[in-house]
């Protein structure tokens, strides 16, 4: 046993997979300690806030300020205010009004602005330009004018009767230290469509999904193991009946059964563990088959015969003379079941048949929400890509472990 374990932990593939999986598990345990709270809490009011660090503007204006004279501050401000689309639109205007722009560089903000201020005239109606487009240029001009506006902003307090009292003047050279600001929130993966912290949700969802995988794997392995042992060891009619059932359920796609059962259970009854159990119920056939064939090859070995002659009970023979020999196969089958269980949950959720949506997030549900709110077409990659990556990494690590074990126990596959 010790020797086998040492061999297993010397297989590079297994170790790689194991390390990835353990890292995922550690994140699941440690992250909630760092960032506690309900993962389903809707902290954002809008949908899909971008990943980044959020600083409270209210608090920032009330924080003591330092004056910093940074030489490139103006340029940066300009670059941020004037988006790439705005620049392209400006070129469009120049084109339409016949301004010579040879040698103009789009990133050269100064020249662009000088040209604009010199040439833009809201009364000109270039040929073929729609009213809407002209209005757009008016708005653009207004915001460009703002760039050249005064150096200070005034923050004022509004009294009940509407009078404004100046609280503070903010100039372009005022800076606050983020550590001084009372409320700064890091959202490394932004928020989702409901305004929930995606990273927190993802960590919690990965945990639930792994739990679903483990339950599904345990159920499938238990059923498969029991049936496989009975069929292989007892043989005869018992074997015939079990194999008849197994053969049928090998061909009937488990996914379809899963859909039928999940639908029949109904949304209300579908907790995460129920979904997990159903997934397990529809995916035991492979384990049953491989356990059976292993047991058949073991059935007539000397040590088993010896046990039989010594009058040991069926249970004892199976536990002491058969199980230890097929343990490696069972473990490998279990690992595969876990990974396919996680995948099944995700697919089921995407069909709208996943676990009840109000209790816990799962990877599948997160994916489903992202798709329902078109995260993929509106550019909110943080809502779906980390989910896909997490599912892939979990199942990649599990499959690597499985391949590693396979190479230890099936020497022909060794490199």
């Amino acid at each position: 046993m010790k020797n086998t374990l040492r061999q297993v932990f010397h297989a590079p593939k297994f170790v790689t997979g194991f390390v990835i999986f353990v890292l995922i598990l550690l994140t699941m345990f440690i992250y909630p300690l760092v960032n506690p709270g309900n993962p389903l809490e809707m902290i954002g009011v809008g949908t899909f806030a971008k990943p980044g660090i959020y600083v409270s503007m209210y608090d920032a204006t009330n924080t003591s300020m330092e004056t910093l004279r940074l030489p490139d501050a103006d340029d940066k401000r300009l670059d941020k205010l004037l988006s790439q689309t705005d620049r392209v639109s400006m070129i469009d205007w120049f084109d339409a009004t016949g301004v010579d722009i040879t040698g103009l560089d789009l990133s050269d903000t100064d020249t662009l602005l000088t040209l604009w201020n010199a040439n833009y005239d809201p009364t000109v109606k270039p040929k073929g330009m729609t009213q809407a487009k002209r209005n757009y240029f008016k708005r653009l001009d207004a915001s460009i004018k703002q760039i050249n506006a005064s150096d200070t902003l005034i923050v004022s307090d509004q009294a009940e009767d509407g009078t404004l009292t100046e609280v503070r003047t903010i100039s372009k050279t005022d800076y606050v230290n983020t550590s001084q600001v009372a409320n700064v929130k890091a959202l490394p993966l932004g928020t989702d469509n409901f305004g929930r912290d995606v990273l927190k949700e993802l960590v919690s969802a990965a945990g639930t999904s792994i739990q679903i995988g483990l339950i599904a794997g345990a159920v499938a392995t238990l059923i498969g193991l029991t049936l496989g042992l009975l069929a292989g060891y007892v043989g005869g009619t018992c074997d015939d009946i079990i194999m008849f059932i197994t053969n049928i359920f090998t061909v009937i796609p488990g996914f379809v059964l899963l859909i039928l059962i999940s639908y029949s259970i109904g949304q209300e009854q579908r907790g995460a563990s129920v979904v997990a159990a159903v997934i397990g119920l529809t995916s035991w056939t492979w384990t049953a088959r491989s356990v059976r064939s292993q047991v058949i090859s073991l059935r007539n070995r000397d040590h088993v015969n010896l046990s039989k002659l010594s009058g040991h009970s069926l249970v004892r023979i199976i536990l002491t003379d058969i199980l230890p020999y097929i343990a490696s196969y069972v473990v490998m089958a279990f690992i595969l079941q876990v990974s396919s269980g996680i995948l099944s949950e995700a697919q089921l959720s995407l069909l709208g048949l996943g676990p009840k949506t109000t209790e816990v997030p799962t990877l599948g549900l997160m994916m489903n929400w992202a798709m329902l709110y078109s995260a993929h077409t509106n550019g909110s990659w943080w809502a779906y890509f980390p989910v896909i990556l997490t599912i892939t990494l979990i199942s990649f690590s599990l499959n690597l472990m499985n391949t590693g074990l396979d190479q230890v126990f099936n020497p022909t596959l060794r490199d």
Partner: protein, 335 residues
């Protein structure tokens, strides 16, 4: 010849038995529902209605439609008879369209998308796996982890990634539908071109996902075969490596046919979900629509059709395999 007949007989018998079990399951499972489905559906349909007798009327109508007022055996025979007639009831969500009508307009899309995609993925995967097994050192070290990683990207994930890269960012392919939304299916060139451009992303996302799994399987199989005694023997008789590699790949490839037959059920599941991502007008999207709208007759029919499709493909692959692999011939036909 007698052996062949026996083999086919056995296979056909199995096919029929599984088909019957599938139909029974399709009938029984939804009826294990703890709540009264008709009441639930009536509740949905009668939302906002205050007139009790009108609600009662709706309830009666669905009871009639479902036949839930009859005994369970009677219901089953009606169910089977209707299936044989190709009548699967009326859709709730697209009332008064017939379910069989909806299914028949979707099934073609699914078959034309998934069958070629799975086959191409299978072929490419086997090729790559074989190359990886043959070259081993270096190439194998790069290709195997990539294939393993790729094979673990879920089909829907691959679909979303392709959609975002090629559809949304690069804008080289349309992102939804089976053809441009402003068209009516016909046989014009414009329509066919539209179908082909819409075909690309769903097709390649299914292909890419199936490549990975097949390549990994084929690699193990080929390595196993490359170590077989006949390889050594053929080498010692002076046969060229290229020829021997031919033997090996043929032998490794043949069991992959069974592998395909056995995994097609799982692959279809993933591929159906990929359809949803692309709003491809196939069975996957139909099922999704049905689930969302709680359209019970449509769900039941879609699952049944998918099961039958998988059964037929598995059956055909089994038959083909029996013909092309002499190992099966020897093992099966003489029994």
């Amino acid at each position: 010849m007698k052996g062949y007949r026996k083999y086919f007989g056995k296979k056909i018998l199995w096919f029929l038995i599984t088909l019957i079990v599938a139909v029974i399951l399709n009938f029984v499972l939804p009826r294990l529902m703890p709540a009264d489905p008709v009441a639930a559906i009536t509740g949905k349909m009668a939302q906002g209605m205050t007139d009790a007798s009108a609600v009662q009327e709706i309830y009666k109508r669905y009871e009639q439609e479902f036949g839930t007022n009859k005994s369970i055996t009677e219901q089953f025979f009606i169910f089977v008879r209707n299936i044989l007639r190709g009548d699967m009831g009326t859709s709730f969500s697209q009332y008064p369209r017939k379910v069989s009508d909806i299914i028949s307009s979707a099934i073609g899309w699914t078959i034309c998308l998934q069958l070629p995609a799975i086959l191409v993925g299978w072929l490419l995967g086997n090729l790559l796996g074989a190359i990886a097994a043959y070259i081993r050192k270096g190439f194998d070290k790069v290709l195997l982890p990539i294939s393993l990683f790729l094979s673990n990207v879920p089909a829907f994930g691959m679909a979303v990634i392709l959609l975002v890269i090629f559809g949304v960012t690069l804008k080289v392919a349309p992102i939804a539908g089976g053809y441009a939304f402003d068209m009516i299916p016909n046989f014009s060139w414009r329509f066919i071109r539209s179908v082909i451009t819409h075909y690309q992303l769903p097709f390649w996302s299914i292909v890419l996902v199936s490549i990975g799994g097949q390549a990994v399987g084929m690699r193990s199989m080929s390595i196993y075969e490359l170590n077989a005694d006949y390889v050594k023997y053929a080498r010692f008789l002076g046969i060229k490596d290229r020829k021997i590699v031919g033997y090996v790949f043929r032998n490794a490839m043949l069991p992959q046919v069974t592998g395909l037959a056995l995994s097609i059920g799982t692959m279809i599941g993933g591929a159906l979900v990929a359809e949803i991502i692309f709003s491809y007008p196939g069975l996957g999207s139909t099922m999704y629509a049905a689930v969302t709208a709680a359209d019970y007759p449509l769900i039941s029919a879609t699952t049944l059709i998918i099961t039958i499709m998988v059964l037929v493909v598995t059956f055909l692959l089994d038959i083909v395999y029996g013909f092309i692999d002499p190992r099966v011939k020897a093992a099966q036909f003489d029994i």
